[in-house]
């Protein structure tokens, strides 16, 4: 067994629409325990666990929480459920299969940091998730897990759903915050960071769904125990959205430390139709594309620091040998060209030019100069853009320039003969 079932333990064992099922399966038990602890004790456990954010950037959760806890006045908690990264569907499963676990994680964060109001910002296309979370919030209010003086304590907390409207950029924390405020989804300049000035310019703690879901687990077994799960680089388990040309596509929960090959071959059952692996994209459209020879790397944040691309939110997209690299890059770049918000100049004007250059490779009309322009432009976008979108959108280009250099060179050579093709 290479899986370790923790966050997904209630999946398919409870009726997600029933708070009673959740309660019978240890639901809100950790939260009740947490209500007897103080802020420092809770955040200290989380610090001991060494958990990092599961949304893709991998920032230490306890650092964010303690700086947020130190802020005073009106404060907001935001759960980022705008899961827009292609190839990822873990947050959707977490919301649809065990919605109260998400709420429990949010409650633990709110109680330990002194926030009184929260938003779950759910991707607009996730209608089912929205329905289920809406129902669960209602149930939680009815059973006094939300609302005033929760379970007879002094702690009160309101939770609301905000529905996204289809923009990928709204998964970026500040674009999401702007969207909550009713503005177009465009990021803000940092600093100030969300923990200082977020929603309506009030301190805001924003975390990914999976991050919140880890908190009941950490506080159940203790930070120390939790930190023993995983590898020397990252602790805990990770939900992996495995897609592409594998036999068993789906969601898997594995401890950090497993290799990509293990996930693809053991859990995914290998490549469909007995073909060879051509390439694997990690994290989603914003992730690195690696060749088969690199599949023995661990699934952990640090070692995946190829061009700052980490495991991201945990997608593994397997492409067999029949796929053309430049077709894949074209799809990636069309996506980003459509989704860049338009605020900062290298991102707004850069993606359309990257797309134009990639089209030349697809059409066998690329020259050496086009390659040099592409490489230079991809680096500039990666280095200079304002938010995570542009900083990561070039990872597929930069990683393939490194690992699939021969394909670029060959395409340039072939272009000499096939121009106009």
């Amino acid at each position: 067994m290479i899986e370790q079932i923790e966050l997904t333990k209630r999946f398919n064992k409870i009726d997600p629409q029933s708070i009673n099922d959740f309660l019978e399966f240890d639901g809100y038990k950790v939260f009740k325990k947490v209500l007897t602890m103080n802020s420092n004790e809770i955040i200290n456990e989380i610090a001991l666990s060494k958990i990092t954010g599961r949304g893709g950037a991998g920032f230490p959760v306890s650092i964010k929480m303690s700086s947020f806890a130190n802020e005073t006045g009106v404060k907001y908690i935001v759960c980022n459920a705008d899961e827009g990264e292609p190839g990822n569907f873990k947050d959707r499963y977490l919301m649809e299969k065990d919605p109260h676990q998400v709420i429990e994680g949010i409650l633990i964060s709110a109680y330990s940091t002194g926030a009184s109001k929260g938003f779950i910002y759910i991707r607009g296309e996730y209608s089912k998730s929205i329905d289920i979370i809406r129902h669960s919030i209602k149930e939680a209010y009815k059973n006094n897990y939300l609302g005033d003086n929760i379970l007879g304590s002094n702690f009160s907390f309101e939770l609301e759903i905000r529905r996204g409207a289809g923009a990928y950029i709204c998964g970026e924390e500040f674009a999401l915050i702007e969207s909550i405020e009713g503005k177009p989804g465009r990021t803000r300049v940092k600093p100030p960071f969300p923990t200082q000035q977020g929603v309506f310019n009030k301190p805001t703690l924003i975390n990914n769904v999976e991050t919140f879901c880890n908190l009941p687990f950490i506080l159940r077994i203790g930070g120390n125990e939790y930190s023993k799960i995983g590898s020397e680089y990252a602790t805990g388990t990770k939900l992996i959205s495995l897609t592409g040309n594998v036999n068993n596509k789906g969601l898997y929960e594995v401890p950090y430390g497993r290799t990509i090959r293990e996930v693809i071959e053991i859990l995914g059952g290998g490549v469909k139709d007995n073909k060879e692996i051509g390439m694997v994209q990690l994290g989603g459209a914003c992730g690195a594309i690696i060749p088969e020879s690199l599949l023995d790397m661990d699934i952990d944040n640090e070692k995946f620091a190829i061009f700052d691309s980490k495991m991201g939110a945990g997608a593994i997209i397997v492409m067999d040998e029949s796929f053309d690299l430049f077709d894949i890059l074209l799809k990636n770049m069309e996506f980003f060209q459509h989704e860049t918000c338009g605020k900062c100049m290298p991102c707004r004007e850069g993606h359309i030019q990257v797309l134009n250059l990639i089209k030349k490779f697809v059409r066998y009309s690329a020259t050496k100069d086009d390659y040099l322009s592409l490489e230079s432009l991809a680096n500039v976008i990666h280095e200079t853009t304002l938010c995570g979108l542009g900083q990561t959108s070039m990872t597929s280009i930069l990683s393939t320039i490194k690992f699939f250099q021969e394909e670029y060179q060959q395409r340039i050579r072939e272009s000499l003969f096939k121009e106009g093709y």
């Binding site: 300049v189 700052d308 918000c341 338009g342 900062c344 100049m345 290298p346 993606h351 359309i352 200079t384």
Partner: protein
């Protein structure tokens, strides 16, 4: 204080500033594009990127605060390559027909490209041509030149509280325009032109009327005269490359004469006249229990705001025409009669620091006989500079000449109209002496001077202690207007100017009008006042003569007929 290194130079600065500000203090120039000193930091252009040791990626100097121990490099090959690449990208979606652009040689993008040494553009041009909005008399918006830096949005939203311009659409399709892509004329735009003043390129510009003026100057059917607004004499120097805040009176007149105008007159004259009329209106309203506070009417941007958004405020606004329009009326009545000329053959040109004045001159209410406009055409300070350049006029090579008469003699009070608080100060100097029938002890009302957003003072008029207030920029205007509408305004007189700093900071003024520059122009304005023989409008001998010969007395029926107007709510 924090210590850091920029390009290996040890730098010690306060801890509340950005890397850009720290570098500027040590004369290290980091190129910028979207950055504008008085506006919100957007950090959108990414031109000012620098390398900071230990930091991932490049960071923008404009938005990154300094920290102890930072080691910053501002011009490595990587940085230079990034700046060049971004500039190429911007140019690839820009109508770069530079020589036919009004901003040629004064364009911030052009000079950035030149300084960075952009010789070729590696990227294909992806510009999709968009319609040019020139459907109003004041401003032209050319989206093909827009680089979406956001300065216009910020000045319209944060400084003017107008919210006319916004960014719309996403990604490559993102555009800056009025809501629903409408024309500026269909919007709550006041034509203040602050957007045109801060635009780094030629995307929002004043409607250029210089060609019409050249034509008229050489058309023997017309007697072409020109009036020069108070604020122009402290800013035209910058427009022609001389120092900021330079006071040019004689040389300005001389240069304008060389363009070929028959007479060069001074709007300061009609500013004095405005004080006589508006001051009398204030006295009457105070004495007869009329509608108070009285609000000034010289600023057409403010009048536009009032007519568009605050119809209930209109009875408060002085019925006086603005000095520009008073001048035009007198030129086509008093002057025409005196010189025995057909008013239709008199062509009145104004040189104004303002783009809204272009709109004002076209107003139906401001015509001498329902057809002939008081003022025929308005040029901004920038357009005057253009005419000087077209003519090859060099201020260093010309003599000083006086304004022509009868509209050439003015007072220090009139000169103050250019600066925020100036109309108030001028009005108080006159109203006090007329009402109290004794000279003012100190004619300098320093509490209404300067760049503070809302200023106030108190003065004893007759038995009453009267409170007056001054605001500049429309966001501040809204505060005072809303008090008046709510009935909580403690003031009897309020001066409102649409632009920050008043007319010296107008939308038609030379590019680079930052608050620092505004302060220098304001300082020069008070120097002009201090150096005048007469410093109170009612002491102007030409004004006295005008009343004696023609208008009889302030607010007479003749004066009312010629110098006053009406306002009406405007539906957008």
């Amino acid at each position: 204080m924090v210590n850091l290194k920029i390009n290996n130079i040890n730098v010690t600065v306060t801890d509340d500033i950005t890397i850009l500000e720290a570098a500027q203090q040590y004369n290290i120039n980091i190129p910028t594009l979207c950055y504008y000193p008085d506006l919100h930091i957007n950090s959108d252009c990414r031109i000012c990127v620098v390398e900071i040791e230990g930091y991932k990626g490049l960071k923008t100097a404009c938005s990154t605060p300094v920290r102890e121990g930072m080691n910053i490099l501002t011009n490595t090959p990587k940085i230079l390559n990034s700046r060049k690449t971004i500039t190429e990208l911007i140019l690839s979606n820009h109508d770069a027909s530079c020589t036919s652009c009004i901003r040629n040689m004064s364009c911030e993008l052009q000079s950035l490209a030149k300084n960075l040494g952009i010789n070729i553009n590696r990227f294909e041009n992806v510009l999709e041509k968009k319609e040019i909005d020139d459907h109003n008399p004041s401003l032209v918006r050319n989206a093909n030149r827009c680089i979406k830096c956001g300065r216009c949005i910020d000045v319209c939203k944060d400084v003017q509280a107008m919210h006319v311009l916004e960014s719309m659409g996403r990604g490559h399709e993102m555009e800056i325009k009025p809501a629903f892509g409408r024309y500026l004329s269909d919007e709550f735009c006041t034509f203040c032109g602050q957007c045109a003043n801060v635009c780094p390129v030629g995307a929002i510009i004043e409607k250029d009327n210089t060609d019409i003026v050249w034509e008229k100057l050489y058309d023997s059917n017309y007697h072409v005269m020109v009036q020069v607004a108070p604020a122009v004499r402290v800013s035209i120097g910058e427009e022609i490359g001389l120092e900021t805040g330079l006071i040019s009176n004689g040389k300005l007149v001389s240069a304008i004469k060389r363009l070929g105008f028959n007479n060069v007159y001074d709007t300061d004259f009609s500013a004095d006249l405005t004080i006589m009329e508006e001051g009398t209106e204030l006295i009457n309203r105070i004495k007869t229990g009329g509608v108070l506070p009285l609000l000034t009417s010289c600023c057409p941007g403010w009048i536009n705001l009032a007519e568009q958004e605050y119809p209930e405020i209109l009875p408060h606004i002085s019925s006086c025409k603005s000095p520009q329009q008073m001048f035009g009326t007198l030129a086509k009545t008093y002057f025409a009669e005196k010189e025995n000329m057909d008013p239709k053959k008199i062509y009145v040109v104004s040189i104004m620091p303002c783009t809204a004045k272009k709109y004002e001159a076209t107003r139906r209410e401001l015509r001498i006989d329902n057809k002939t406009p008081d003022v025929d055409i308005v040029l901004t300070t920038r357009e005057l500079g253009k005419m000087f350049r077209q003519m090859g006029i060099d201020f260093n090579q010309i003599d000083e000449v006086e304004f022509d008469n009868p509209f050439g003699i003015s007072t220090g009070a009139a000169a103050l109209f250019g600066a925020t608080g100036g109309v108030t100060e001028a009005a108080l100097r006159t109203v006090y002496e007329i009402l109290n029938e004794k000279p003012l002890e100190d004619i300098n009302f320093t509490s209404v001077r300067g760049m503070k957003g809302i200023k106030e003072t108190e003065i004893k008029l007759g038995d009453l202690n009267v409170k007056v207030a001054v605001s500049h920029s429309l966001s501040n205007a809204r505060i005072l207007i809303e008090e008046v509408i709510a009935g909580t305004s403690p003031y009897s007189f309020i001066e409102i100017m649409a632009c920050p700093g008043g007319c010296i900071g107008g939308g038609g003024q030379p590019y680079g009008t930052t608050n620092e520059v505004r302060l220098e122009r304001i300082a020069s304005t008070y120097l002009v006042d201090g150096n005048m023989v007469y410093r109170k409008s009612h002491e102007n001998p030409s004004i006295k003569k005008l009343y004696k010969d023609y208008l009889i007395e302030p607010n007479s029926s003749m004066a009312h007929h010629l110098l006053h107007t009406k306002y009406s709510p405007k539906n957008i």
